[in-house]
């Protein structure tokens, strides 16, 4: 059995978990076994709908205390559930919560772990999973040596596969250990698209000169429905919040489209974004190293190019 942990944020199932579900379903098919989802907490989604991403069965432990992340608690419950259903592989989304829980679960199951997996394992001869290493500058093929395996699949690398089925939901009734941490304050990022989930990202660097100039970037992001990111010096100087800092020492993302505006393309920056499917670079310096990593480039002044691009997108959207 492949068991997929379905994570939630604010009682909603995230896209990264649906991707993990589809990954788990494909893996189960490859291994010739069943696949089930495990949901902890109270979620607003209709759980039978997880069938549309590949689940045959959904195990649900409905309890409000599980809505916020408590790694000690969650990993214990997930590991127990995995043992109960004889899971041979447990799959997580390699998102913030999945990354935190998966290693603890692997310890509890005495399972080998690969986080940041980028594709289905090769099971012809053993169980070899490819993952990104060196912040995206290379891939490593990792053999998992243990009977039970734990995999956290990178966001936006496998995609959500549409299935035409509905899953059966089984409510679990197991006692919940006491929480190890107490949440005292929650600050949601309101209305913004979380960077790691976004398929379109618009990012700005020092070339934008100052925080007062971010309007043109935000307009572009809005026209596309994109999330916003920035280079490290931009967040270091508080022009933009820390959670927008992408790169080797920030967060690593792999959207379908990354538009870099006024960013030189230093190696540490590229490390966080080079897995993006398509990269557009807007920079006034034709020698900027970022152009070497780009699919499309515009050599020009961001203050002219970006508003023009926004207009062109709005025009395209209004005629589409």
């Amino acid at each position: 059995m492949v068991l997929v942990y379905i994570d939630q944020a604010d009682q909603q199932i995230k896209k990264s978990s649906l991707e993990a579900m589809s990954y788990g379903a494909a893996l189960a098919k490859q291994l010739g076994c069943d696949v089930a989802a495990l949901v902890l907490g109270t979620v607003q989604d209709n759980l039978a709908e997880l069938g549309k991403s590949g689940a045959q069965k959904v195990y649900h432990l409905k309890n409000e205390t599980l809505n916020s992340l408590d790694v000690k608690l969650h990993s214990t419950l997930i590991a127990n559930a995995a043992k109960n259903v004889n899971a041979t592989v447990v799959v997580f989304a390699n998102n913030i919560n999945g990354k935190a829980i998966a290693p603890a679960v692997s310890v509890k199951l005495e399972a080998g772990l690969v986080t940041g997996a980028s594709s289905l394992p090769n099971t012809e001869n053993g169980f070899v999973v490819t993952k990104t290493v060196f912040s995206g500058k290379a891939f490593a093929s990792i053999q998992i040596e243990t009977p039970i395996k734990v995999i956290a699949i990178n966001q936006n690398s496998f995609g959500v596969v549409a299935y035409d089925t509905s899953a059966t939901v089984e409510e679990l009734n197991i006692p919940i250990p006491t929480a190890s941490i107490k949440i005292t304050k929650l600050e949601k990022v309101e209305g913004e698209i979380p960077l790691t989930e976004a398929s379109l990202v618009v990012s700005g660097g020092r070339g934008l000169k100052g925080p007062e100039n971010w309007g043109i970037l935000l307009d572009l992001a809005k026209s596309l429905g994109a999330a916003t990111a920035c280079s490290r010096p931009v967040s270091d100087t508080d022009w933009r919040p820390h959670h927008e800092h992408v790169g080797q020492t920030g967060i690593q993302i792999a959207p379908n489209l990354y538009i870099a505006i006024g960013i030189s393309g230093a190696i540490q920056h590229l490390a966080g974004v080079n897995r993006s499917k398509t990269i557009v670079v807007i920079n006034k310096d034709p020698e900027a190293p970022f152009f070497k990593a780009a699919d499309y480039g515009v050599v020009g002044d961001a203050f002219e190019v970006v508003p023009a691009l926004t207009s062109a997108i709005l025009k395209m959207k209004s005629t589409a």
């Binding site: 000690k72 290379a138 990792i142 941490i181």
Partner: protein
Amino acid sequence: MKILVCISKTPDTTAKIAFTEGNTKFDENGVQWIINPFDEWYALVKAIELKEKDPSAIIHLVTVGTADAEPIIRKALALGGDEAIRINSNSNDSFYVAKQIATIAKEGSYDIIFTGKETIDYNSASIGSMLSAILDLPLVSLANQLDLNGNTATVRREIEGGEETCEVNLPVVISCQKGMAEQRIPNMRGIMAARSKPLKVLEPIEASATTSIKKFDIPVAKSGVKLVDPANMDELVRLLKEEAKVI
């Protein structure tokens, strides 16, 4: 209060990433080694800040690595920390490393165990979480702020879709990221003092690796940039829609 800071050695961020022996080994030729930035800038400096507030606090550093990890451990000691422990072993598998550190952690009965959010080479982000499971301690991951009040830590952390503040009783494992502290540069006094700080070398305990690396690959380079006339953004939109099919 006793604090344990986990320190990892990683290639410099500008190091050329290449592989040898039929792409099975990282090519260390000419590579400069640094303290993993998340360990140095956030975990270690936060521990030092706590000691500045409470001078009775004791900071131990631990690394799993062979003798060539000593320069970076000395550098860490120059920033701060009272003594360091090096477990004399390769560090190829996260579980193996976590087992080694857990042994030290158990013996030292630390109140706080700090790790960085991940290493910049293998990016597994697993040691903190594994330690918490082996030691049966709470974990606060991706912490970006921490205040101590007696036996309770108030920690702000990143979660999916936002941030939250939580309270947790010590002992606890905390993985640190940006915001937690500010990078510091070691000063001359620190560098001198580090020379005489104890650096204990211990042999690893028996533990089996759960994974092994079979090979490495370098992603295929982009085929070349297509330049678009800055006066023709309609063309860029067309390319993104029809050629790249991303919007």
